[in-house]
Amino acid sequence: MKYTEDDLREELKTKEYEYGFYTDIESDTLPIGLSEDVVRAISLKKEEPQWMTDWRVESFRAWQEMIEPEWANVNYVKPDFQAISYYSAPNTKPKLDSLDEVDPELLETFKKLGISLDEQKMLSGVAMDVVIDSVSVATTFKKTLNEKGIIFCSMSDAIKEHPELVKKHLGTVVPQKDNFYAALNSAVFSDGSFCYIPKGVRCPMELSTYFRINQANTGQFERTLVIADEGSYVSYLEGCTAPSRDENQLHAAVVELIAMDDAEIKYSTVQNWFPGNKEGKGGVYNFVTKRGICEKNAKISWTQVETGSAVTWKYPSCILKGDNSVGEFYSIAVTNNHQQADTGTKMIHLGKNTKSTIISKGISAGKSQNSYRGLVQINSRADNARNFSQCDSLLMGNDCGAHTFPYIEVKNKTAIIEHEATTSKIGEDQIFYCNQRGIDTEKAIALIVNGFSKEVLNKLPMEFAIEAQKLLEISLEGSVG
């Protein structure tokens, strides 16, 4: 039987979420709803100091005054913020010195996800800070990192153990009142990762965090803060996957990156939240604020592979404050079925001789809508700023859409900006050519999609590139190899 593009499309439509299982772990969950009392209760449960409680309450009060943004090119039923539980922690508190003491069911979950700690530890040399629901449950490689003076821990621990660093930097890149979801996150963030690389230190391994939404009706509000002190380097990996749920789950994370003079941060994400079923029911709402600030000669590079979520709203950004600083954004966004993605980046050039590169690849299939939204802003003092942007879209099928909204604002005559965008489909000719060489249509599409995404896949650290390809594969039905 011949496998045509139509067959593939049909198969894509009937694809169910592979990781759609639910781990039954007893959870300590706060009653649903949000009020100042709940915010205080979260802080209390987490045994936070007073300044942190005050910070949260301040954020909550600001959030109450704000309205939900509507400008993105997405349609969804707005979450009912009073129907969400804002805190849940697995009841079985694992001991960090041995994985054997971790709830076996939890380990089983990791296995299904293909991210068994053992395997990760043994094979890839990746330190893991695993977040299941909201509380970190395992941390490895702490010792190696300790020797270098690198701090890599959960945000809760950081607040207790390194209050001076947290206090100094938290909210400096993404202020509490930055936007609706950032304010919400600032009020109720459950946990997340904290990372500090001391002056001149090159972090010897990829730092990695896996996130996971598990408990029904539990919003996830991670808070990540990465500080690379002068002349340091760190590569940080973030990946996530979520079990299938009928209700929409809200995910509103905030990530702040601080690259001080001559520092470099590489932040890579593979995102595979539950996208909803083929009717578009369920799925995660992913409203994320990610931003980094570059001081003199610093560099921040965002790489992301987005295959999941029902609705995605995400613009990892760089503020190029210091002279000669560099910002990069490499992204693949795949949407299928009823998924909607409005993603892109902002490159704010403030310093002289600043450079930014944007490579965005969107692949749309099914009935999905995929939008690129970007801002390149060259301020009046940013002499000799350079930007190159390329946004390519690949369409599969006739029910999906690809949209490009690049904003370019230039206030300095020495700027050089180049922006290119293309939209195309997988050509019949390309498929026939592959067929003639003995490659069937499904494999051919996989090859073409992989080729289309290559410039971005190449930017991922090796271990992650494999995972990313795996996720592309799942999103486009096992066709990518």
Partner: protein
């Protein structure tokens, strides 16, 4: 009184001047309500994010200039393309000037909107076309509410209109501040060709605000070439909205040359209602001082096998600001669409700025769409090369700017317009060279 309130109040006065029993008046009444509810656009509106009307809305504009003004042809000859024979529809302070005009009813209708709106012989065309493609945004609605005068052009089937048609609006400055709302309707029937040149010109430095709406209908296989020359003095502002509705196999192009004015906003919308349509929109913008030019374009690909080409070049000096907001929308049915959009800009000064937002919204899969946008400076090495060959700096600069705009000039089909534009640019750059484009 704020301008909005003043305009709404003036509508009643306007009703005393026009025949309110005509069907078109219902359209006007609807439109004033629309304007009343929307008000003037603000920077909060996405389409006006980079252009603020505040500075031009503050004047106390006269809405109905009373004076019948006369101008001598020799004083204003230079504003016409006068070295070729053309039809002319000329307005002074919004009123038709018969002695400056050359209209016709010989096989084609090149005449006035006011008579087309009132005379029975035009009723069918008005019913079928008037306000049928203009959008209901606030400024177009405002124009519709006060629509009374402007150009009316109807070219029936199979006519090749031998001479270009010039539509020229003068303002004399007899009013301290004047607001004009010309309304043009151009209907080109099957297999006919027409070329149109439009210009707005103030004769003094008194502020003028023109809110113009033009509807163009290019029916099956029609060819419409439209040229807009915007070189007004720097107290005049223009909001020019042009809506082009195309039927199958028609070819329409609009070239916009923006050199003058305080604030110029060009809304240019093309709707492709048929197969194998070709749409072209091109522009050259060269401004300085505190001038502001905003090009807001839309090409809506509705049916399959159509093409669109956009090419806008901008050169910005002093404290001027440029905006390009170009949208290509491809419907699901519009397979095999080819849509190209290019926007290239040069900033000459530290205080000049450009905001550009090229957008693609694609719902069909078998399409070829691309856009490219660049912002840069004149090429230093090219400058040096020219100067090392003995060309002085100013001339070298001009030469490079001409070269930069050449793509747009090459598709201008009336040689006299090319010459005129070349002259205006040379003048603007303060050079006197024999550049030929």
């Amino acid at each position: 009184m704020e301008l909005k309130e003043k305009l709404i109040a003036s509508f009643m006065a306007f009703e005393n001047l026009v025949d309110i029993d005509l069907p078109v008046h219902d359209v006007r009444s609807e439109a004033i309500k629309e304007f009343e509810s929307q008000g003037f656009p603000s920077k909060r509106d996405e389409a006006w994010k980079y252009t603020s009307l505040n500075s031009i809305l503050k004047h106390d504009y006269s809405v109905f200039p009373k004076l019948e003004n006369h101008i001598d042809y020799n004083d204003i000859k230079k504003y016409f393309i006068h070295d070729i024979d053309t039809y002319k529809i000329v307005f002074i302070d919004g009123k038709y000037s018969s002695h400056l005009s050359e209209t016709t009813h010989d096989g084609i209708d090149v005449c006035l909107m006011s008579s087309a709106l009132s005379k029975p012989k035009y009723r069918l065309i008005i019913e079928n076309y008037f306000n049928k493609v203009a959008t209901k945004d606030s400024l177009s609605s405002l124009n519709t509410a006060f629509s009374q005068e402007g150009a009316y052009i109807h070219i029936p089937k199979n006519k090749l209109v031998a001479k270009p048609i010039q539509i020229v609006h003068f303002s004399t400055g007899n009013e301290a501040a004047l607001m004009l709302q010309p309304r043009n309707l151009i209907v080109v029937d099957e297999n006919s060709h027409v070329q149109i040149i439009e210009r707005h010109q103030s004769l003094t430095d008194n502020p003028v605000l023109t809110n113009s709406v033009t509807e163009v209908f290019a029916n099956k296989r029609a060819i419409v070439d439209y040229y807009k020359i915007q070189n007004d003095n720097q107290n005049a502002s223009l909001i020019d909205s042009t809506f082009v509705n195309q039927k199958r196999e028609s070819v329409a192009s609009v070239h916009t040359f923006s050199f003058g004015g305080k604030l110029t906003r060009n809304n240019l919308n093309f709707y492709q209602n048929g197969e194998r349509i070709d749409s072209t929109m091109k522009g050259i913008t060269i401004i300085g001082n505190k001038q502001h030019v905003d090009h807001n374009t839309l090409v809506h690909h509705i049916e399959p096998n159509c093409e669109s080409h956009q090419d806008y070049k901008g050169i910005y000096g002093d404290s001027s600001t440029g905006v390009f907001n170009g949208k290509v929308l491809v419907n699901r049915e519009a397979q095999k669409t080819n849509a190209f959009q290019a926007n290239n800009n040069i900033l000459l000064s530290d205080k000049a700025s450009i905001n550009t937002k090229p957008q693609l919204e694609i719902f069909a899969d078998d399409v070829k769409c691309s856009h490219g946008c660049t912002i840069g400076q004149l090429d230093d090495s090219a400058m040096f090369y020219l100067r090392s060959r003995g060309i002085p700096e100013k001339e070298a600069k001009a030469l490079l700017m001409f070269a930069f705009s050449n793509n747009v000039m090459s598709s201008v089909k009336i040689p006299e317009i090319k010459q005129r534009i070349t002259k205006i640019i040379a003048n603007k750059l303060g050079v006197n060279t024999g550049f030929d484009l």
